[in-house]
Symmetry: D2
Subunit: 257 residues, 4 copies
């Protein structure tokens, strides 16, 4: 928690498939959605963060061990290529989250293998892509992710996501969205797994310029700082252990005053 | 939890002021809103519940000690006369909730002294009474209060309530409502205080026939069974105590196998 | 929630390996731990429950589709044979939990494939089997599982389980245990996944007669009634769906008054 | 969340009664417990915080409006003089918490008027002052307050606090303590009220040198940074408001891209 000279190492992972094949998406995001997400985060965090991008088509699907192990907070956007992500990469990402890496799961990433593995539910939902207005309401104004965010803001055109969103009850419910048809969606949800903090944020379909929206960018940056832990990612997962009588006395001795 | 021969003793408390002075309300609820709420609960629980009503204009404001002390679950509706409720009655109700009485706080009861005392927040919200459609969405389908309730249902005309609803984060968020203007509201919220279970449910303005709605009645009944505890209300609140060495051995002896 | 003529169909699944090979366990549980767990539940629920047992060595590992699909609440005890449970059975159990089946995960079941899949964490912990006294403290006296349970009770000899227990934060933390060495453990934890309610309860090692303990049996029975939903298990999981404009009007029409 | 040039304005409030009349306390804390708490926070936060102290015997009971209104995070220690705190001061503190001020409630402050008002429960507990060893266990390793804190640490001599601790279920349970007699206590609990974050931390009796303990000091500092919000305390509480049709369009216009 104390001030640290170390910048937050953020890796913005993007599937980057729509951006190369769908004409409308190419026009909106000519350099890929990941570059715009990364720019949004960097814009707010400045020198506090060291932001890089990674994509599915790169070696190791963009997240070979040497990249993942140098990531403090990972953001993930995927949609059409969820199935192409290697199970071994999914395992490594989930394991690193449990060791303390922060994770921002964006929009259609709700159905990624990573998110479904961490949640233990189907993560299904209802949807409709008609470019309708989304209103995003803050419902937990005490949450760090809401700092500097208005009580309600509008995204003029966005895909509709609707309940029942089949996730476990969030540890913290930060935002609720409504759509033109009267639909509602828990659009900002926090979870923890092991030492890792996870923020799911639903605005951000590939067909609309959502990641250029100033409040969305602020929320992404807030999500990164919330998910980051200053004491680092542990080198390994929690292990089971046989704790013999007296073990506590060994452990607590150095901490005594 | 085991089957009990004892019926649930429910007291439906109503302020009963609008119903005697506002023409539209008199027409909708000629015998008071409390009688309709009581009928809705009895309709679903049958012999499992013993339902009576109480109103502000009765002796002891309807809840003298002999009534309150025979209540397992209390439902509360108030609006225009919050300030007339005696502080001593507020204290007794809150204290009995802490001892294990269930509480259903209905609609404008969000601003009652009882609810604000139990929450520790202002319980303020935004509102508009234009007879708009309210859609009520289930967001926690694992919750007992949702049993037999559709994933979404409509109330054709209702007062609009909107976030920011200034309550602590609910222990369980069961329903979210949306309104015609795009507003959202956490309309079904569970809390606990001491041994008592509290369900806040927002549908139910005096100007609309909400308490005749079949799904609303089902939810009220579900709320009562959820809030009821089969092992009864404790005779007194939890007290602080000086626990001398060895006290546990005294306490646990009878429970050993 | 309303009184139902249908009994709760409980299946008590036991690994049943220690009970056939370890001399001490055979003496404690000559007919298997599952029979004692089943008897404890039946003792409290009487005609409200229809309790049967199932074991790993049976066809379909005790839970072929026709058995699982007739189970409202499943209890699970495993330890030495976690790896032998078929992945397909694990998938079917987790999927049925998400559709609304209750699950009681007992003691060393914390490391079963089923539990780890539902949690998304390692579920590791520290342990020591020295027959020490476990004290079980109620910390959420409002919870249905605590009805009729003393504020603290003792299990005279039990395996020690200790934090850090690597689970997601429980939706409801009901019990905390302490052990002779000063260790603590979150011994009663509630979670939900989809429509299903999950209760993890740690007391119950094969080397000690824990499932004969009267309070433990009461808690098991309370766990079953808490995890049971009267409106049944859905025939299928939540699915994603494209919700076209106007879909809500179709859905809500029948529910209007 | 973004880096701010503004230091966190911390006010450490102490009752400061024991320190002037009880010989043992005078020896442990010759300048008052508040000075030691303040030093512990300053030691870790350095230039990030501007720490001052305030005591009951000062004008305005140490927290006249001009002091309270310049406080971002308040820490509170009281015991023997809870009743002497003016109800009006209690009201102002609770109201400012709801507007966004952070609050650290320490040890016997569990029974202060401020804490009981914010919780809505009795906040009672069991206790014994025999100078026993307290073990403090981290149970939510994802929480910011645990950064740099060992999984378990010992306080060699401390007052025993024991469940049932009559608080609402914490939004986040960070620490559980055990004591020599087998007692357990939820010793680190987070709550929110309105925009304010509240951390209750139980170690710290006046008869033992707990606030000199290096890990305790680290936790106090972590608590301050967690409770602090970079976007400031709102000038007034949330108010109810009549929201006329179209109000959202007025509100969201400036935030559109």
């Amino acid at each position: 928690m104390t001030a640290s000279a170390q910048p937050i190492r953020v890796t913005v992972w993007g599937e980057n498939v729509h951006e190369r094949q769908d004409r409308g998406v190419v026009e909106l995001y000519p350099d890929g959605m990941h570059t715009v997400v990364a720019a949004g985060i960097a814009e707010h965090l400045g020198g506090r963060a060291l932001v890089r991008t990674a994509t599915l088509d790169q070696p190791g699907q963009g997240l070979p061990p040497e990249v993942l192990e140098e990531t403090d907070v990972l953001t993930w956007w995927g949609h059409i290529a969820h199935d192409q992500v290697d199970d071994e990469l999914v395992r490594r990402v989930c394991e690193r989250v449990n060791r303390g890496m922060g994770l921002l799961m964006l929009h259609s990433g709700h159905y990624s293998k990573v998110f479904r593995t961490l949640m233990g539910t189907s993560c299904n939902l209802k949807w409709r892509s008609e470019g309708e207005r989304e209103l995003v309401w803050t419902v937990d104004p005490s949450h760090p992710i809401t700092e500097g965010v208005p009580e309600v803001f509008a995204i003029d055109a966005q895909e509709m996501y609707c309940e029942l969103f089949d996730i476990p009850p969030p540890d913290e419910l930060v935002f609720i969205s409504s759509f033109a048809g009267g639909e509602v969606f828990r659009s900002g949800c926090c979870f923890t797994r092991g030492r890792g903090r996870i923020f799911y944020f639903s605005p951000g379909d590939q067909e609309y310029p959502v990641y250029y929206h100033p409040v969305v960018r602020r929320i992404l940056a807030n999500g990164v700082t919330w998910a980051y832990r200053s004491d680092g990612v542990r080198p390994e997962s929690y292990q089971s252990a046989n704790a013999q009588p007296g073990w506590i006395d060994e452990v607590v001795r150095p901490a005594s005053p």
